[in-house]
């Protein structure tokens, strides 16, 4: 603070420059004040956001307490509200999106960082990063007209007959499928998060010092072995960070999910079943929630979502920071 004072003081002793330096000081202070105001406004907005979420969910928090998170029933008529079906749906769709998106994204990132010549790598990365800019409603549009019919037929049937007959995990591929389902939502989300994973993972992979790779190769490992066993583990915190970022995006995604998940307040073990998510139920029911308890229960759902994404984002930043410092980049 107050860095302007050095200039003013050293500008000279006579009256003319003192008023000049006085004016300079004023200018700096004004600038400081204005920029501080902007920053303070941003802080204020964020604080207000949290306050509004907390304040406008007071009724259900008082009435249900922490039980809200584990109650299955969502019955506006009876005044019974529980977050479980939505939390379940949010978690399941996110998990599916990660299960598909992370291998896909990491694989592409490895290719772009390790194998592709720089010009191809740069242009392909550019194209992939464009995917991140596609509005979510367009993903939803394609979800309705491409993914959902595809899941309904032939994907669901195929999954039921192949993975569905396995012990243990078979149970998640059973049952009637109408197309709209956890799986459909997970697929659409996977495509949405892949650019984040590719973009960040590629950068952290590129940041791994070449001597690590060369050392592995010198010891006789194959290209893949040096990549998978040396480079990737080195970059792992950064990759994990990108996964957390992707997770945060998937958790909060509204439009793409509500258009393909089925909007059914139920908990099913099968991925082929329809379900709901926190963001989707808020979008569907917020404008019509009659009665304060109902509306505030929806706000409380928003609060829950906010807290979860907040924690995940924090973890992501830490992870990426950790890798950056290890990798030796600025």
């Amino acid at each position: 603070m107050a860095t302007g004072t050095t200039i003013g003081k050293s500008a000279g002793p006579n009256t003319a420059s003192r008023s000049f330096s006085a004016r300079l000081l004023q200018g700096d202070q004004v600038a400081h004040a204005i920029t501080f105001l902007a920053a303070a406004t941003i802080m204020l907005i964020t604080i207000m956001l949290v306050i509004v979420l907390w304040d406008k969910s007071v009724l259900p928090r008082a009435k249900f307490g922490l039980d809200f998170l584990v109650t299955k029933v969502w019955d506006p008529n009876a005044g019974q509200f529980g977050a479980l079906p939505f939390v379940y749906g949010t978690l399941v769709t996110t998990a599916v999106s990660l299960a598909i998106g992370v291998p896909l994204g990491l694989g592409a990132a490895i290719f772009l960082a390790e194998l592709a010549p720089p010009s191809i790598s740069d242009s392909l990365t550019f194209v992939i990063e464009l995917l991140a800019a596609v509005p979510s409603v367009i993903y939803g549009l394609l979800g309705i007209f491409v993914v959902v019919p595809f899941v309904r037929h032939p994907l669901a049937g195929w999954l039921e007959h192949t993975l569905g007959v396995l012990p243990l995990i078979g149970g998640i591929f059973k049952g009637p499928c109408y197309g709209v389902s956890f799986l459909a939502a997970g697929l659409v989300l996977a495509i949405m998060i892949v650019p984040f994973i590719v973009s960040v993972s590629r950068e952290v992979l590129l940041a791994v010092p070449t001597d690590q790779r060369e050392a592995a190769l010198a010891l006789g490992s194959t290209r893949w072995e040096s990549t998978w066993k040396v480079v990737v583990p080195f970059a792992l915190p950064g990759v994990l960070g990108s996964v957390f970022l992707a997770m945060a995006r998937a958790l909060g995604e509204t439009m793409a999910v509500t258009m393909v998940v089925g909007n059914v307040v139920e908990i099913h073990s099968s991925l082929l079943a329809p379900g709901y998510s926190i963001a989707a139920v808020i979008a569907n029911e917020f404008t019509e929630a009659t009665g304060d308890l109902y509306l505030q229960a929806l706000v409380e759902l928003g609060l829950v979502l906010f807290l979860v994404t907040f924690i995940l984002n924090g973890l992501a930043r830490l992870m990426i920071l950790f890798t950056a410092s290890r990798g030796g980049t600025s």
């Binding site: 603070m1 302007g4 200039i7 500008a11 200018g27 700096d28 400081h32 204005i34 920029t35 501080f36 105001l37 920053a39 406004t41 941003i42 964020t46 207000m48 956001l49 406008k56 896909l104 994204g105 694989g107 592409a108 490895i110 290719f111 390790e114 194998l115 194209v127 992939i128 464009l130 995917l131 800019a133 596609v134 509005p135 979510s136 409603v137 367009i138 549009l141 007209f145 491409v146 650019p195 194959t222 290209r223 893949w224 072995e225 998978w228 958790l251 909060g252 995604e253 509204t254 963001a279 979008a283 917020f286 928003g302 979502l305 906010f306 994404t309 907040f310 984002n313 924090g314 930043r317």
Partner: protein, 287 residues
């Protein structure tokens, strides 16, 4: 060495290496393929509906054909304009504060806050804007929608401005001050212009991002079948109209949804490409 390299074990390891590395190439291909698929699908389904009617007409009553999205296109522009009024000044000036004036603690707090805002699901921002604007004003409006979108622009413009300002070399600042310029004059005439490309890129990218947002508009700007006058009325926007038309049963509306999706995607992608173009040219310029 050659004998060792030719053993079956080594061949298997090499085979595995080839397989996995090949799969990574496949992954990259799939991901890139998806983007082209999306573009192609939109062009195929929406291309024919992007006609003059689409750009000039208002929506027709339900079930009648021949309507257009003129009000949604202008509506999106107006919302973007309002969002920029909030997102750009706050983000850029706040970024200047972070990079030039703040101490370590306040910089950290602001970074954290920006991250927080960035991570807030867009639907939750919609709840916030509804509570403090729509309920207070007692009506849905473009102001509320613009406010919600503006909040979403802040984190990107803030962090990017700060980053690009910090990247401006100390030598430039010191040179300016040595010539007698005050701190604020240095910032305005030297530092910001030097970081201008990066800041502009960030602005364009954040505008492109909020242009496609739907969820925060659902209960702030609502929608409008007519032209919205000024900013105090509910207003139509491309993403909301795409959503409404997509989930409807009318084939004509589906066609229009594809067309709108194509236009929206086209604008967003174009903005992104331009923004990155600006940035990459700036990086090669001498620093």
């Amino acid at each position: 060495m050659s004998g060792w390299a030719g053993t079956p074990h080594m061949r298997m390891r090499k085979g595995i290496s080839f397989f996995f590395l090949g799969s990574t190439a496949l992954c990259a291909l799939v991901v890139v393929g998806v983007l082209f698929f999306i573009l192609g699908y939109l062009v195929w389904n929406g291309g024919s509906s992007v006609n003059l009617n689409f750009f000039t007409k208002l929506p027709t009553p339900v079930g009648e054909t021949g309507g257009g999205m003129a009000n949604a296109i202008v509506g999106s522009m107006k919302l973007l304009f309002l969002a920029s009024l909030i997102g750009i000044p706050l983000g850029v000036v706040g970024g200047i504060y972070m990079a030039e004036f703040s101490g370590k603690l306040s910089a950290f707090i602001l970074q954290y806050t920006a991250d927080l805002l960035n991570g807030v699901p867009s639907i939750v921002i919609g709840i916030f804007a509804y509570s403090i604007i729509v309920l207070r004003m007692k009506h849905f409006s473009a102001y509320a929608g613009g406010f919600a979108l503006g909040i979403m622009m802040i984190p990107v413009t803030l962090r990017s401005t700060e980053q690009f300002l910090r990247d401006v070399p100390l030598s430039m600042r010191e040179a300016s001050m040595a010539l007698g310029a005050s701190k604020w004059k240095t910032i305005v005439s030297v530092v910001v212009p030097a970081a201008y490309r990066g800041i502009l890129t960030a602005i364009l990218l954040s505008m492109a991002r909020v242009a496609g947002e739907t969820a925060p508009l659902l209960f702030t700007a609502l929608n409008n079948r007519f032209w919205s006058h000024g900013f105090n009325e509910p207003i139509a926007s491309l993403p909301v109209v795409v959503y409404t038309y997509a989930i409807s049963p009318y084939d004509d509306w589906h066609r229009q949804a594809w067309a709108a999706g194509l236009v929206l995607l086209g604008m967003v992608l174009l903005t992104n490409i331009i923004a990155r173009g600006i940035l990459s040219r700036g990086i090669s310029a001498p620093r």
